[in-house]
Symmetry: D2
Subunit: 365 residues, 4 copies
């Protein structure tokens, strides 16, 4: 019942604080025999890495991952998973020395500072300690391992909305996602967002974002009803990401405004697989999940990120002693924390799916 762990059969545990010597993850339950080394994981960490554009925090972290266990070089010279725990470590490098007396003394509004103190009575206040989004690097590393478990699945996330400005679905071009600093599939929107995010950055303000993610190639049958439903696990996975406040599967809240007819997911025999194969859904309002189990259609979700709470405008708050004071957030921050959420959302999707693949194989394989 380790609360710093996620997953059942494919399970990872993370550790580390923003300004400690390192962060890391232990991935347990990874099947044996999968080819892996650091170069398989690093690209995903690089995609999440801060300091790569002016639109993200200027903290400079190389985020070099090391594999400390669970991998062994076979006699063919290929390193492979052995089925034992894979320990991943990322050293913290740019824990800038600074004066923390402000945040030690008073609670940053919108942050977890007060809640952690209320819970534990004692906290590492440097850079948010354990509650910092820095921890998500561990998830991204673990997610890279998870992807090896589900080679049949393709996962892609992108930002669909920043500061209330949405992409035009007609402009959707998956190839563009990697071509701009916003993971935006719409060239025109990406251009607009430069202005929006830069304005927020210059003003010491911040903006929210929405990320969409889909996974194609998921076979029908993954998901463990009733309290390990695929959609429920995804909801927990996404809602647990820093700054996330909402999660939708398929049509989400929009489905609440449809009728039974307009929300219907009629099926027909799959053209590709013939009469014996999985049916094709003529729409996919359900987002690829029914009764908590995958249907063979793409699994889709939308995730809402609030604007970064760290802003330059001073806010009323209280001290540890309960006195009124004001605080504003000095230091390096993301003007739109949602942007760097894209690799994290993808990682969580991969982690949930890898777990459910193994679970399904265990019970029904």
């Amino acid at each position: 019942m380790s609360v710093n762990s996620f997953g059942r059969l494919f399970r990872f545990t993370t550790w580390g604080e923003s300004h400690g010597p390192a962060i890391g993850a232990v991935v347990d339950g990874c099947p044996p025999g999968l080819a892996i080394d650091e170069s398989v994981i690093q690209p995903f960490l690089d995609a999440r890495r801060p300091g790569q554009s002016k639109y993200t925090t200027q903290r400079q972290e190389p985020d070099q991952v090391r594999i400390l266990s669970g991998v062994f070089e076979g006699q063919d010279g290929i390193r492979r998973t052995t089925g034992t725990p894979i320990s991943l470590m990322i050293e913290n490098v740019d824990q800038r020395s600074k004066d923390y007396s402000d945040v030690a003394r008073a609670y940053r509004p919108g942050h977890a500072d007060y809640a952690y103190d209320a819970k534990y009575g004692f906290r590492d206040y440097r850079g948010g300690g354990r509650s910092s989004a820095r921890e998500t690097a561990s998830r991204v590393a673990a997610g890279a391992v998870a992807r090896l478990v589900i080679p049949e699945v393709k996962i892609r996330a992108y930002v669909s909305e920043i500061g209330g400005d949405m992409i035009d679905p007609g402009n959707f071009d998956e190839a563009e996602i990697g071509n701009n600093p916003f993971f935006c599939p719409d060239v025109a929107a990406a251009a607009r967002w430069e202005q929006i995010v830069d304005d927020a950055r210059k003003a010491g303000s911040s903006v929210g974002a929405v990320i969409e993610c889909y996974a194609s190639g998921v076979p029908a049958g993954w998901g463990a009803p009733l309290y390990g439903k695929l959609d429920a696990d995804l909801a927990a996975a996404m809602m647990g990401i820093n700054a996330v406040k909402g999660i939708e599967i398929g049509d989400g809240f929009a489905a609440a405004r449809l009728t039974g007819e307009t929300n219907a997911d009629p099926m027909r025999p799959s053209k590709e697989t013939g009469p014996d194969g999985a049916p094709e859904f003529m729409a996919n309002h359900a987002g690829g999940i029914a009764g908590g189990i995958s249907t063979g259609q793409p699994v889709t979700c939308r995730v809402a990120f609030k604007p970064t709470s760290s802003i330059l405008t001073p806010q009323p708050t209280v001290t540890r002693e309960g006195q009124a004071t004001e605080l504003f957030t000095k230091g390096r921050h993301d003007p739109c924390v949602g942007i760097r959420g894209v690799p994290v959302v993808e990682a969580m999707m991969a982690l949930v799916l890898a777990d459910h693949k193994l679970l399904h194989r265990g019970q029904c394989g």
Copy 2:
């Protein structure tokens, strides 16, 4: 890792199918010494019970709960929890005998029929079997026990939107929630919804709904970062309810359109508790949770229910053998399944909070 269980320290396991002899829940981890008998649980089941108005399914189930274990009558004549598992059973009474050859042969679109078959290869197709919303009666019963664990917390859910028609926040009157068949806090909206739901019913159609829920009295400090966050657990709890497609905490998706300033949750010393007490949040955009931990403010969420998939309009689908066919849903169904979700949402809120109270006490008590 029982997937039909939910919770960690306060944990329940449900069993049963729509048309089997009974359904039930085993509640494990309930603290000892709490006064309980069937009459404590029954009112919550009654609130969820079908067949009470023309706006819900006409299946007639008395939903009488029996406590089979875990409770003992003390020498003062009061029945109390003993700390051992509480077995709750509800007999199915109105499993109307009918011809199931249609649903045995083909998959109802929008239902879990195909997904269950893809997963298990064999399913109880009568009334949806295990995937039927009938299972939520077990959750409601378990939730009634959970409420005993958190007497300091007040939980209330209500429908805020049906078929796209929203309540007017200015008309919000909590006392009205129990006065209409829609759990609607706005008298005017309730009147409009009579028409909307009745039209859907008569047309053999269905409409979606949004439920809002809040829990007040939750002290600061509940929630178990990082993978047992209070909001992540709530997200899983709510997304796991039949027909739910979206969940928001606090401002949810709306927060993605705010700026750091407009989404700020500034704090001030609590007027009530004085300088040593918990601070007061001047807004509660966060929905009472920061960093996955409660802040002492009301915990709030919104839950989207899709329209019932069972409609009278025939839909294209496939048979078990993969042949094209058409199917429409005969039998008794809810024109707006979201309505009866209110007691279920409340139950899941109670179950999550009870679990986190015990977890917090275990680690930090």
Copy 3:
């Protein structure tokens, strides 16, 4: 983290007290499609059932099991598991009405009475409540389901020692186990035990016993190092049975007196399977498990049962108020509780192996 549950992928949860209306188990994670009905489970319950000879308690319980969920009759008329939770219920019939004021007031020495009160502050004292060995009927029922999951495995337990009198290995005849009320494979020992147990019964005393159990047909590779080792799980499973005080795998404590040479488990190519098959172990000191993983040899263990604590000789004890008093156990009891442990030991072996089969398939399948 339900403490009234056991297992990971194949998991059961038990509920019920000795003198409540019923006891039961919910079996979760059973693979779908296995032919099952009550008649598959009942023989194992019958083997454990009390009141069948003068050597066991005279409580008369028919122990009729009912399957309430998780099983469905296919179109071929065969009832099969559906992959959903299997709820098993056994009604208590012979909860003899008696005066419990003695045990309500003071703690029976050697029983869990004091410990339960120290833990929970409130207990069902009738017949030991939850701590009664009656609960093991639920395990036996769940174990019968587990056996369906591992048809390749043959499990057999027997009593090898009662009151210090051991069987002669030279007399071992498996066919005899079912021919006497002691589950004894040695005809001569069974005859001696009649006297030993009957003497204890008449004297209002009790004797201890040792049970041995083996499982053949377990393939190499089951077991989940490092904290789900097959031997560790068996140790927990057996030590958790009422009255058990010791557990050995393979040579057990005797191995501590061997040298590396005399304890060696040399291997040779299996004659049966040829050079590509699993090796044959020339001895099996290890009891079929190495590094927590099965080796393909029979899995063997020995389990020590203490003498029943309920005896007619009055013992000093204390009241709930902490005053000195004396107590002896009136009512119906087993003069050798170990005897009826045989079906329970077999059930726990089956439950552990079924779980590990699914776990192995999940991670390595």
Copy 4:
């Protein structure tokens, strides 16, 4: 359901192989505010450290532990736990470069080599990889943290038997345990064991051992019936230690030869605490546990260690290809692996008790 994790509320996960760069543990669920730094953990690792006498393996490992997370220096200059995961890392230093072609090609009898290959199909064969007793250093480090959680408990383990030669209970002197390389409380036995172990070492052989452990100061009420019983958890904890083949609680197997009278645990009012306090048990056959719950008496257990499987006498075995061959174990090994088990047994006792303290507080606190 991470199988490389142990515990429920106080939970640790270990990682690492014998010849990898490092090993470690992540301790999750440790309560906040406990004073800790490396110097608190190191002495326990030093007690287990190899190469300290000629009676243990000559592998030279400094076993210096580093705390990488979960600990923060308060404003009083004291480092304390924060309630977040504590990552502990121990670098491997003396992974002697050698030729592993023998063990890569064939299975060492008595070791986990064959079983790992049967399970995973691919293994790190260097020094036993994950199955090496080197992993127990991680448990000892985690156990040192666990001790901080249970300051009221005193835990002591010692070797009571080596190669069949037992201590004389009349010579028991706890103060002697730390004065000899065998953790032996009997000066005379320790002298005899020098000869026994040295003979085995010189002969390239090995001998078994029995460790006894007790924990005093455990209050009544810890333990979580029915499937988290304190004795069942201890059984799993001890049986999971490398080379362990048996575990007894209290009188263990000896209890199977007692009668109800001779095994009785009568109680009287405690002289120390007066009539309102916990009773005193006049014997403690039960080993401080009844019904899976602590009784307030010392918790006692005995653990059997087989002789080290690595011996110089060649043994028949098979190659990976299933061909007959012979193998003997070159390299550095313990002639009596049980000796170094003492700090490991203590650590597991501490880990189980810390977990149950938190569990009890969570449910009944």
